[in-house]
């Protein structure tokens, strides 16, 4: 276990900044780097591993400045997205390569390789060359090579990207246990939000080389700092509706198909501003037409997704709203219906900047106390 600190790291390629951030990873933490491709996640891992150098900033591993230390002396383990196995070596030699550099005895190397190979269930293919391995075995060999030296800092670059869905699911279950047993500080890169939620103690969301939000999986899911982040987390995706809040008797409200939806906590400061209202499909339910605040819609289509059923509905202005309900719960199949929105679970974003707007209630309360 060790800590990692990236201080004001800047990396440019051909005059373009591809990375510009600071990041702290705690001892033994499992941090997931999440973002679309081209966000700079892989560049960041390589900077930490020491195979590329930052243009500015410092890399500290375990509190020690490693910025100018060569990759082979940093003592990190890394698994590559494309596996990067040595094609001319057997799986055994591939894994052993992380030990041979440290001048261990032959027996110690063999024992170390056997142990990690058993753990990853590839002990029967150790004599094979990468060409003779299946994709899953290649992926496990790459992982074994990263793990075998018990590095205090483990960098995993989307290791499940190039394996089939079944294996990915298995590994998603297996990895947390494996990594916990390893006791290393882990940085895990992925583009799959479910993987990020399943594996991360914290998730760092990156766009265009910048860190946009960092927090626990629940933080990111419940209060995404930006529209883009809200859109990337969640399946089915969050409903995003353009609204212009208006002033009501008890705070601001948004109008959806002529129905007023309260925006709890928001005051006059947002009235008249172009906003985007975000509501997760699971926070919308079907309700009776007579219920207070029921929004009239037409049911368009229904998609069963194993544990839940997702319904696509359209408002009078033909805006799409997705509604998710647990499978087995009855719901309308077609025709007119009414929706109830859990107003406590709504998110309001500024349309211009895309940033999440926080309720100003605490501030107004303080004002009230002052008065």
């Amino acid at each position: 276990m060790t800590t990692l600190q990236l201080k004001n790291i800047v990396k440019r390629y051909k005059g373009q900044t591809v990375l510009d951030l600071s990041l702290d990873v705690a001892d033994g933490e499992r941090l997931v780097l999440f973002g679309p491709s081209g966000a700079g996640k892989t560049v960041l891992l390589r900077l930490v591993a020491g195979v590329i150098d930052p243009d500015e900033g410092r890399v500290l591993i375990g509190g020690e400045d490693m910025t100018d230390v060569d990759a082979e002396h940093r003592g990190v383990g890394m698994a590559f997205q494309n596996f990067a196995l040595f094609p001319h070596m057997s799986a055994f030699d591939n894994i052993a390569s992380a030990l041979t550099a440290r001048r261990f005895s032959k027996e110690a190397i063999a024992a170390g390789v056997e142990k990690v190979a058993r753990l990853l269930k590839i002990d029967h293919v150790l004599s094979h060359h990468p060409k003779a391995l299946s994709n899953g075995q290649k992926q496990r060999t790459a992982l074994a090579r990263a793990l075998v030296g018990s590095p205090p800092l483990l960098l995993l670059d989307d290791p499940l990207r190039n394996v089939d869905a079944k294996l990915r699911f298995e590994m998603r279950l297996e990895l947390p246990r494996l990594l916990a047993a390893q006791g290393a500080t882990v940085i895990y890169v992925t583009q799959d939000y479910k993987e990020a939620m399943a594996l991360g103690d914290r998730i760092a969301v990156m766009f265009e080389g910048q860190l946009r939000q960092i927090g626990t999986p629940a933080d990111i899911y419940d209060t995404p700092a930006e529209l883009e982040i809200a859109r990337l987390f969640g399946d089915p995706t969050i409903n995003l509706l353009d609204v212009v809040p208006q002033r009501g008797p008890d705070g601001a409200f948004a109008e959806l198909s002529g129905v007023r939806l309260r925006l709890p906590g928001f005051g006059p400061e947002i009235v008249g501003r172009a906003c985007v209202l975000g509501v997760r499909p699971e926070n919308i339910t079907f309700t009776e037409a007579s219920a207070v605040g029921a929004i009239p819609v037409t049911v368009e289509a229904e998609t069963p997704l194993n544990e839940k059923t997702v319904t696509l509905t359209l408002t009078a202005r033909r805006r799409e709203i997705l509604v998710s309900r647990p499978a087995g719960m009855p719901g309308p199949q077609a025709g007119p219906a009414h929706l109830a929105v859990n107003s406590r679970a709504t998110l309001l974003f500024d349309k211009g900047s895309g940033r999440l707007m926080r309720p100003s209630e605490p501030a107004s309360k303080r004002n009230g106390e002052a008065a």
């Binding site: 390589r46 591993a49 020491g50 195979v51 060569d70 990759a71 082979e72 002396h73 940093r74 003592g75 990190v76 383990g77 890394m78 590559f80 494309n82 596996f83 990067a84 196995l85 040595f86 094609p87 001319h88 390569s97 992380a98 041979t100 550099a101 440290r102 990468p130 060409k131 290649k138 090579r145 030296g149």
Partner: protein
């Protein structure tokens, strides 16, 4: 392969035979000539029926050439030895210098690296005769003319750019991640070069080395101008067969057979590396 109709198979066979005959005919003809005397070679009409003789080979190996005007000394075996020595050492030097340079050009883009690489390639553009005159002057001034050292140096103009550019391509084809992985596993850049880059580019290096060897072996003009009799390779030495009493076709044919043998043997031996080299792209992942 898909099943072929008999007609298709026959046509394909005929086409292949034609190609093989077309390309092999001169070599076969020379091979036959090497076992004949000048008289049987030059008779009209020509015939492939003759009593074979080993005189031509005997003359080459003993260095005594019997002509109508008497016995002539030829240094063919010495020329052959020179060819082997010059080509082998030139390729060895070019590999020792060119492979690390190719790696540097492939992996480290530094200011002016493309320009340097291109300058090295441009040695191949210049007509050799253009370079030769100033080179001869300098070599005489430096005392390098008519030395093996000087010849091997000049042969680098042939071998080095070839090896540099071919091998560089092979190094560039190796995924950088594979090398990164070895570095991160705790190995120095030099051992990464030795244990990862070199073996993976091995077939390419073999192919480039073979090609450079053939080019060096076939070189004529550098050796003609810069080497005197005892340092000449076979390409220049073959001129000795044009004698006052006529051209010794039989011996020339025997000399050709002897001088293509090393390259042919090397090419056959290196064939599997060449094939591997061509399929190097398949090692990804």
């Amino acid at each position: 392969m898909e099943a072929m109709s008999p007609l298709e198979r026959v046509l394909r066979g005929i086409a292949l035979t034609l190609v093989v005959v077309f390309f092999m005919f001169p070599i076969v003809w020379i091979f036959l000539m090497s076992f004949q005397t000048n008289e049987t070679i030059l008779r009209i009409p020509p015939s492939i029926v003759f009593t074979p003789t080993l005189d031509n080979y005997a003359a080459l190996i003993t260095g005594k050439l019997q002509t109508a005007a008497g016995t002539l000394d030829i240094a063919f075996m010495r020329n052959l030895g020179n060819s082997v020595f010059l080509s082998v050492v030139s390729v060895a030097v070019a590999l020792a210098l060119g492979v690390p340079a190719a790696y540097a050009f492939a992996r480290h883009k530094f200011r002016g690296s493309e320009d340097i690489a291109f300058t090295l390639l441009s040695f191949r553009f210049a007509p050799p005769l253009l370079v030769l005159l100033p080179l001869t002057q300098y070599f005489q001034w430096l005392g390098l003319s008519n030395t093996y050292f000087g010849l091997i140096w000049v042969y680098q103009l042939i071998c080095l750019p070839l090896i540099l550019w071919i091998v560089r391509g092979y190094f560039e084809d190796i995924s950088a991640d594979v090398e990164y992985a070895y570095r991160i596993a705790g190995h120095s850049w030099f051992s990464t070069f030795r244990k990862i880059a070199l073996p993976l580019a091995g077939p390419g290096i073999a192919a480039a080395g073979l090609l450079a060897f053939i080019f060096a072996w076939n070189n004529f003009v550098f050796a003609l101008v810069l080497a005197s009799a005892d340092k000449q390779p076979v390409t220049v030495g073959a001129l000795a067969f044009v004698t006052a009493s006529g051209i010794q076709y039989g011996q020339i044919a025997a000399a050709i057979v002897l001088s293509i043998t090393p390259t042919l043997a090397l090419a056959l031996y290196a064939q599997r590396y060449l094939v591997e080299g061509l399929s190097l792209g398949a090692v990804k992942g």
